[in-house]
């Protein structure tokens, strides 16, 4: 049977509709040349974390009590027995005068006048943790008494938020250690309420290597000797003796000293990624400005790298310019990835003209924050802070930026 001529096209269309719909469903966005429409430029920041926490383990086989310092309102103590599933109902907290806190009370009468205390949950209910929320009248040494413990636990975990403004801020000079040198570690001890530094503390750090090196313990000093910038400013510094090798390095910082005549202990953490041994970003070759009849269609930046082994790698970098105000502005992001043999290689970053014009600033641009990622091991193999400059054209020669995609609408959700 032959179709009438006038029916052929609709029938053919109907037959191909499923195929057409597949094309209409969308395609993978080209990730190798991704523009980052996020300005102003946010330079990769050294890691920093703040801690107001003290945490420790009590050996219940040799200790029947432990002293905890509570300083301000809404101090919190969490205690839980290790390795047992039963609730601990006989744990006692004694105030600085030795008066016991009633474990079954939610009243404010358990402490001396002017203090308030609240037993918030957990004591007689599974799981086994006890949370004490305490508002002491004045800073002081409180006592956690385990002597009547019935759980059979051999140890107790204790975590304390003392309710004060004393903080330790841990930061690293860089997230990834390059083969060029050791990263600097900083611990800033301060009172966040007054801004005053905390001086005379003993600060140590231990780097636990994931790459097989034995843990290294170092002392941080506030003596003005490099890498410490200023003596007596509450910022304690050291160089971390880590070696390139790939992998993550876990850094734990302990600070011990005194504040207001009472002992103060802070624990902080940071993580460091080590570059891979033998991996290098050697530098960029002169950029190639690509032109067509309408102007500058893009810029290629060939980058020379040295790879320690064959594998799949991604090179990524950001292009930044200067706004008339002088502020750094992100212009574009580009990446190139593929499988490469070991040894010297060239990877080319391509910045499209439509991306370059989006920020609206004239060249020269700086190629910065280049990083080489080993996609097989998911490690940063190497990095290079500033690769060079892109110039040789003007903003007027670039094509207009592509319109930003519109965000699909979502049905609103009623508020509770």
């Amino acid at each position: 049977m032959r179709l009438h001529k006038s029916h052929r096209i609709p029938v053919l269309l109907a037959a191909f509709l499923p195929v057409l719909s597949l094309f209409a469903a969308g395609s993978v966005t080209q990730m190798s040349q991704g523009f980052a429409p996020l300005t102003p430029y946010v330079a990769p920041r050294p890691f920093a974390s703040s801690s107001s926490l003290d945490a420790f383990v009590v050996d219940a086989t040799s200790q029947s009590s432990v002293s905890v310092v509570l300083r301000g309102p809404n101090a919190r103590v969490v205690v839980w027995p290790v390795g047992v599933s039963t609730a601990e109902t006989s744990l006692r907290l004694l105030d600085p005068q030795g008066n016991p806190f009633a474990p079954d009370g939610r009243t404010e009468a358990a402490f001396a006048a002017g203090s308030s205390a609240e037993l918030a949950g957990l004591v007689d209910l599974p799981p086994t943790a006890t949370l004490l929320k305490v508002s002491p009248a004045a800073p002081g040494r409180y006592t956690l008494d385990f002597s009547h413990a019935q759980s059979g636990a051999k140890a107790f975990m204790v975590a304390v938020q003392d309710g004060s403004g004393y903080r330790m801020r841990v930061s690293l000079s860089e997230m990834v250690s390059s083969p060029a040198g050791h990263p600097a570690l900083y611990a800033k001890l301060f009172n966040q309420n007054s801004g005053a530094p905390l001086l005379g503390f003993h600060v140590t750090a231990m780097a636990r290597s994931a790459s097989g090196y034995p843990p290294a313990r170092v002392v941080l000093r506030d003596d003005g000797v490099a890498p410490d910038a200023t003596a007596g400013d509450g910022v304690y510094s050291c160089l971390l003796p880590v070696e390139p090798g790939g992998g993550m390095e876990d850094v734990k910082v302990d600070a011990s000293g005194a504040a207001d005549g009472l002992p103060l202990h802070r624990v902080g953490h940071a993580v460091l990624a080590l570059s891979e041994r033998g991996a290098r970003i050697l530098g960029a070759m002169p950029c190639q400005v690509l032109r067509d009849q309408s102007g500058v269609s893009g810029v290629d930046v060939p980058v020379q790298v040295k790879l320690p082994k064959a594998g799949t790698y991604r090179l990524q970098a950001t292009l930044t310019g200067r706004a008339p105000s002088g502020a750094a502005v992100e212009v574009a992001y580009a990446s190139a990835e593929g499988r490469f043999a070991a040894g010297p290689q060239t990877m080319t970053l391509h910045f499209a003209g439509q991306d370059l014009s989006r920020a609206g600033v004239d060249p020269p641009y700086t190629v910065r924050d280049a990083s080489l990622l080993d996609l097989g091991t998911v490690r940063v193999a190497a990095q290079f802070p500033k690769l060079g400059h892109v110039a040789g054209f003007t903003l007027a020669e670039l094509p207009a930026p592509a319109p930003a995609p519109s965000l699909p609408a979502k049905r609103p959700v009623p508020l509770p």
Binding site: S6, P10, L13, L17, L20, S21, A25, G26, S27, V28, T29, M31, S32, F35, A36, P37, L38, P44, R45, F47, S49, S51, L53, A55, R76, V78, W80, V82, G83, A120, G121, L122, P126, P127, T128, A129, L131, K133, M157, A159, Q161, M175, V176, M248, D250, H269, V271, A273, E337, L373, L375, V378, V380, L407, P408, K410, P412, V413, L415, P416
Partner: protein, 280 residues
């Protein structure tokens, strides 16, 4: 002549209608971190609960897949498993309009997939088929609760914290604020200063504060979350496990909820699953 005009009109109408007429919608649910047994389908279903899955899929009328991966592993290990399962679902069902709903670490796992779409063919399939991603309480900037687990890490970590934060596992490290800062700087897209993701992400954040997160006194998890919120040092509102700032660090805010981290993956305290079904 009229006949030809008619044919052209029919052709145009057919072409315009092709996308919606033939697009097949589906939904994938991606759970958060936890134990290795989460790679069992039944454990993953229990994570979400049947009422939640029923609500999200409009009483099972929308094709769905509940992903199940080892909840102790890094995001790329989990990502490989999740991408494989979603790609199989997409290919088997002919899904061309996929919505992905994630809870907690599942949002980081899916962001890994969308940040590395060239990792393998499954990743490409998932990104191609996806309409958008909804992340519930994803620790996109890390979780202070995971930091606490790190502070207390080692063989001492036990009891309720094991259930809530996980043991000394790779996924717990992955969720620490310092580790997520590293991943956001080099490996993941979507945060400030990094390239945009290839598809839209919508975030849902838990915004209760302090200890007022006892959503349901029958659940022991609520006590544990209250304890975590009390001692973890969250900066601002949180759901007991993930702070609001972290949950909203990637994508466009869809809505906020006072359901805590235990209940915002369920359809009990608040009808989160019903809200997610608004997408269909």
């Amino acid at each position: 002549m009229r006949r030809r005009v008619g044919i052209v009109l029919v052709t145009v109408v057919c072409l315009l209608g092709a996308t919606n007429l033939w697009a097949k919608t589906g939904v994938a649910l991606v759970h958060g971190k936890g134990g290795a047994d989460l790679q069992n389908a039944s454990t993953a279903l229990a994570y979400w609960t049947s009422p939640m899955v029923s609500a999200v899929t409009k009483n099972y009328t929308v094709p769905y897949v509940v992903c199940h991966y080892d909840g102790t592993q890094y995001m790329w290990v989990a990502g490989d498993q999740v991408a494989s399962q979603i790609a199989s679902f997409v290919n088997a069902q002919g899904i061309t309009d996929l919505v992905i709903d994630t809870h907690s670490f599942g949002g980081v796992v899916v962001r890994w997939i969308f940040s590395n779409p060239n990792r393998n063919a499954d990743y490409q399939t998932v990104v191609n088929a996806t309409r958008w991603v909804n992340t519930i309480a994803a620790p996109q900037d890390g979780s202070e609760a995971a930091d606490l687990a790190g502070t207390l890490s080692g063989s001492w970590l036990t009891g309720w914290l094991v259930d809530l934060v996980g043991e000394n596992t790779n996924s717990t490290y992955n969720c620490r604020t310092d580790w997520m800062a590293y991943y956001n700087q080099y490996w993941l897209f979507g945060t400030a200063g990094r390239p945009a993701l290839p598809k839209s992400f919508y975030c849902i954040a838990g915004v209760d504060t302090g200890l007022a997160i006892f959503n349901d006194w029958a659940h022991v998890e609520d006590y544990g979350l209250a304890a975590l919120a009390g001692v973890s040092g969250f900066p601002g509102a949180n759901d007991g496990m993930v702070a609001q700032y972290s949950a909203e660090a990637v994508g466009t805010l869809w809505f906020e909820t006072d359901a805590n981290h235990h209940h915002n993956r369920r359809n009990d305290f608040r009808p989160i699953g019903t809200y997610l079904s608004y997408d269909f």
